[in-house]
């Protein structure tokens, strides 16, 4: 390719000062945010290829075509096997990582390195596809700067100036590019919606799992990622009612709770609204699932979603971007009729499993068949028996896992208790199901909203009480406070808050956390939420019509001409900066001689210095005039040598004006004027 005909760099970059290692390090940094998501072998292989390339002397031979094709084929095959396809940001990034590593491995010319720069920029974008958290964006901004600096060095072919000169230059370019970029960002017409399938963006989708195994909430409760924010429009519900409903599970296999098969049915009609209603607005992070979270029990909402027979609010498609919706909930919803089908299903238990638990439940029922009494018996059983709350429970047996938990290990967290409780209720003939979701939330006093994180995930139960409907029971709260393990106390925020186990506020840290959450919310709302709708509103409010072709063309033209104007701005150059050094030193010296200064007419420095020297005692005058002469020489030189400037500054700062300025009467200084 003649166009990329390499400059001096082509026929051998010098080993020292070559931008190649820096470029490789930058590429590694670009992929760093993905290392957790990518298989370890892939990261290792890419690292090995980079190291192998660096160990080779520079104008190395390209590996033979067959080896390269083989490596590409193997890499592609592995990516296909690992991710079952190539669609989506994550498999794409993985493939890009392998291709970049291969390109780096075979790189021999300037052209190869340029391609690496392009891949690097694209991968920064791919990182952003996976997350746009403010800290990551900041990190990637630094990486962009680094990559641009390396690109500049690559193009200039040699190292000039200090190691920071390329950084400075790159920063200059990016800053000058900023105004145009901002204009384009705000006015460039946006098209909403995905253009093609998105594929998985992450191996760990946000939010709650689709099945409830013992331990499936384990990862979530340890994560501090924000799931949604909620702002109450009107009164806030009391703390005991802040349960946000997520997936509901009503089929039990003996170890695992599965979502109900009747979820597609509409909610029971025979409901009565009573008690207080709460209105609120939720800003949901992209969760990649269809679950929308709402306070128990939602009756109205502002988004295209439907409520199913389990009172789950479901979006018609996976939530892939920041979603805001308002909803109204009645915590005290009454239901009158339970269809027979549903009743049977919510009593079903695997045949023959967990005999001791069944026996216990039947025993309770025999003593007092009233459902409320059975519930009370079960809760006091959890409270009085030595049940412990811990995030690291022992493993349960596959068969009779409920028996194992209730009578042997007695250690677990919300999901174990909810599961065991539902089992006991069903065994005692009370329809019951497990509900997962979030509880509580941290109040952000700056933003005026609550933040709900993954660590606020929780599981509880609902039991059917005839005449009242589904009633929430949270067995985890029955555990005695002194039986919560210290580790769980430290980690848990939402789980135990309702039981009054909240940690005392931690002063500064809490304040920082609150500010950060508030910032995060603003970031989400205004930066990440900027889209076609906000754009139309913004343009409309500025006074432009909506998406008039001529208008946005005009905007873009303004942006382009702005970029030409920005090109005139430059960093102050080195000569000017060193000039400032001698001038600063001279002024400092003058201030030491006479702090309040002498009025200066339009006169050359020497004439001024002569006048000034009258203020000095006689034997100091000579040294001062010599300095003035040196300053004058430097100041009127076209290109003063930096080391002389430095020496002058040193001499000026060392100069001792003696016992202080000669006292000058006010009158004489007035004459100076």
């Amino acid at each position: 390719m003649r166009g990329t005909r390499p400059g001096p760099a082509a026929h051998g970059l010098p080993a020292a000062g070559s931008p190649v290692p820096g470029l490789f390090i930058t590429l590694a940094l670009v992929w760093l945010p993905l290392f957790r998501e990518l298989p370890a072998w892939m990261v290792g292989a890419a690292g090995l290829m980079l190291i192998a390339r660096l160990r080779r002397p520079w104008p190395g031979q390209r590996p033979s075509l067959w080896i390269r094709l083989l490596l590409i084929g193997v890499g592609l095959a592995f990516v296909l096997i690992t991710f079952h396809g190539l669609n989506g940001a994550l498999p794409g990034s993985a493939l890009l990582l392998l291709m970049a590593a291969l390109k780096a491995f075979e790189s021999t010319s300037l052209r190869d390195l340029r391609i690496l720069v392009l891949i690097g920029y694209f991968e920064i974008g791919a990182d952003l596809f996976l997350s746009q958290a403010p800290l990551l964006v900041l990190y990637l901004a630094v990486i962009t700067l680094l990559l641009t600096a390396l690109w500049l060095r690559l193009e200039s072919g040699r190292e000039k100036g200090g190691p920071w000169s390329a950084w400075r230059e790159a920063l200059g370019w990016l800053i000058r590019a900023l105004p145009t970029a901002l204009i384009l960002f705000f006015v460039f017409p946006r098209i909403s919606g995905p253009l093609w399938g998105l594929g998985p963006t992450s191996t760990h989708p946000l939010g709650l799992p689709r099945h409830l195994d013992p331990g499936s909430l384990n990862r979530i409760v340890l994560s501090h990622q924000i799931v949604f924010r909620i702002r109450y429009l009107g009164p806030r519900p009391p703390r005991v009612d802040r349960y946000f409903r997520g997936p509901v599970f009503n089929r039990f296999t003996g170890t695992t709770w599965l979502p109900g098969r009747t979820a597609h049915l509409p909610p029971p009609r025979t409901t009565r609204l009573s008690g207080a209603a709460y209105r609120y607005r939720i800003t949901l992070e992209p969760t990649e699932t269809r679950a929308l979270y709402a306070l128990d029990f939602p009756v109205d909402w502002s988004i295209g979603a439907r409520l199913d027979s389990l009172f789950e609010l479901r979006s018609p498609f996976p939530v892939r971007r920041l979603t805001r919706y308002e909803a109204i909930s009645y915590p005290d919803l009454r239901m009158e009729h339970l269809p027979e089908m549903t009743r049977l299903r919510d009593l079903a238990l695997p045949i023959g499993a967990d005999p001791r638990s069944r026996a216990l439940a039947i025993h309770w029922r025999k003593e007092n068949p009233h459902p409320r009494s059975i519930i009370a018996r079960a809760l006091s059983y959890f409270h009085n028996q030595p049940f412990y709350y811990t995030l690291h429970p022992p493993l349960l047996t596959k068969i009779n896992s409920i028996d194992d938990f209730l009578f042997q290990t007695r250690r677990g967290f919300c999901q174990h208790y909810a599961s065991a409780f539902a089992f006991l209720m069903r065994a005692a003939g009370i329809p019951a199901r497990v509900v997962t979701g979030f509880v509580g939330g941290h109040y952000n006093s700056i933003g005026g909203f609550y933040v709900i994180r993954e660590s606020d995930a929780h599981a509880w139960d609902e039991v059917w009480i005839h005449g009242r409907g589904w009633m929430r029971v949270d067995p985890t709260q029955a555990i005695a406070a002194n039986r919560v393990s210290p580790g769980a106390r430290a980690v848990l925020s939402g789980h135990l808050r309702l039981a009054g186990l909240e940690l005392p506020d931690q002063g500064l840290w809490l304040h920082l956390q609150t500010s950060w959450d508030a910032f995060d919310a603003l970031w989400d709302r205004w930066v990440l939420g900027y889209g076609p709708r906000l754009q139309a509103r913004l343009l409309h409010e500025v006074g432009f019509g909506l998406a008039q072709t001529a208008e946005w063309l005009g905007f873009i033209l303004v942006a382009l001409s702005l970029s030409f104007f920005m090109n005139r701005l430059r960093w102050p150059d080195r000569a000017r900066r060193s000039r400032r050094i001698e001038e600063k030193a001279w002024r400092k010296l003058l201030r030491r001689i006479r702090p309040w200064g002498i009025p200066r007419a339009w006169e050359p420095p020497m004439a001024f210095a002569l006048r000034m020297s009258d203020q000095l005692i006689a034997d100091k005058r000579q040294g001062f005039l010599a300095l003035a002469q040196r300053y004058s020489d430097l100041h009127y030189q076209n290109d003063p040598p930096p080391e002389e400037v430095r020496r002058f500054a040193e001499a000026a700062s060392r100069y001792d004006p003696g016992s202080g300025p000669v006292r000058v009467k006010k009158k004489s200084s007035a004459e100076d004027m």
Partner: protein, 324 residues
């Protein structure tokens, strides 16, 4: 590689071919209307990458990726006007190329001055016939520099230097800006000196005889004041003894052999003969011996000075080919 156009056996190419003032070596300023700019293949690849990034951002509704794409696009735009600014306003002053021997490289040199406070990045000279690229040079603010480009030569005669363009791709290599330089004046390419050399023709009759008889006698010319560097052997000691200071005896340079280089005495075909003559001239010039040159169409009397040397070589370079 295409063979450079060559004009042989002609008078100097017609100066009227070039508009006055644009030919050769006058000083000129690069005008923005004569500065062209196009994306490089790398620039197109960059645009492709940006388009992919933009589509991805659209697909994922990802504002930060949008912003990255716009930031990079804006940087590219800035660099476009910077690349253009690398050339506009430069003062160019081509040098008349010095003659070389056929087969050597002709060095084309262009003086560049930067009257502005904007450093000019990545300046490089390029020729297309033959395809040659010079070294990349940076010209600081208010600086000046000489850019050179070597083009190979093959045959003797008039050589029209290829048309040159001054180009720049810095800072990012996304765009290339160029301006065509005014055509350089044609250069004379001397015949290639023969290798191996034939023995020199014997000195012409009478020229070296006196030297053979009185090898140590030189013509005494007079006295002059001693200058540092004069050899002690030539100091006039008797004068010094008389107290008239240090005087140096001056002598006429020794009469050396004068040779006539005759075309008719060289063997071989036309080009070989010219090569032999060139070689002899080079050797005699190096030894500072006077020589004359006899060609069928030219008779240069024996002499020894740079002008003579140049005249003889030019005559050889432009010797007309025999009609076919």
């Amino acid at each position: 590689m295409p063979i450079p156009r060559i004009r042989r056996g002609q008078e100097e190419p017609d100066a009227g071919r070039f508009p006055t003032g644009s030919v050769g070596t006058s000083r000129q300023t690069v005008h923005y209307r004569k500065t062209y700019i196009l994306p490089t293949p790398f620039g197109l690849a960059f645009a492709l990458m940006l388009a992919a990034l933009f589509l991805g951002a659209m697909n994922y509704n990802n504002n930060m990726a949008f912003f990255l794409a716009f930031l990079l696009a804006s940087t590219a735009l800035l660099s476009m006007s910077r690349v253009h600014g690398n050339l506009v306003g430069l003062v160019i002053h081509p040098e008349t190329p010095t003659p070389v021997f056929a087969g050597e490289s002709l060095h084309l040199a262009i003086h560049l001055e930067n009257p502005s406070s904007l450093p000019r990045l990545g300046l490089v000279l390029r020729a297309f016939h033959p395809n040659e690229t010079g070294h990349t040079i940076e010209l600081p603010a208010q600086g000046s520099v000489v850019l050179t480009l070597s083009v190979p030569t093959r045959v003797r005669g008039w050589f029209t230097p290829p048309s040159l363009r001054l180009e720049s791709r810095r800072p990012f290599g996304l765009f290339v800006a160029w301006t065509r330089l005014p055509p350089l004046p044609p250069a004379i390419i001397y015949p290639a000196p023969a290798n191996p050399a034939l023995p020199l023709p014997p000195p012409s009759a009478g020229s070296g005889s006196r030297r053979a008889e009185h090898p140590d006698v030189e013509d005494f010319q007079g006295l002059r004041r001693y200058r540092p560097g004069d050899t002690l052997r030539h100091i006039h000691w008797p004068a010094y003894a008389r107290g008239s200071g240090l005087l140096t005896k001056r002598f006429e340079s020794p009469p050396i052999e004068t040779r006539i280089l005759n075309w008719h005495e060289t063997p071989g075909r036309l080009e070989e003969r010219l090569s032999h003559l060139t070689r002899w001239i080079m050797e005699l010039e190096a030894a500072s011996c006077p020589y004359g040159l006899v060609l069928p169409n030219l008779h240069e009397p024996p002499q020894c000075n740079p002008g003579h040397h140049q005249r003889c070589l030019t005559a050889l370079a432009l010797y007309p080919e025999p009609p076919p």
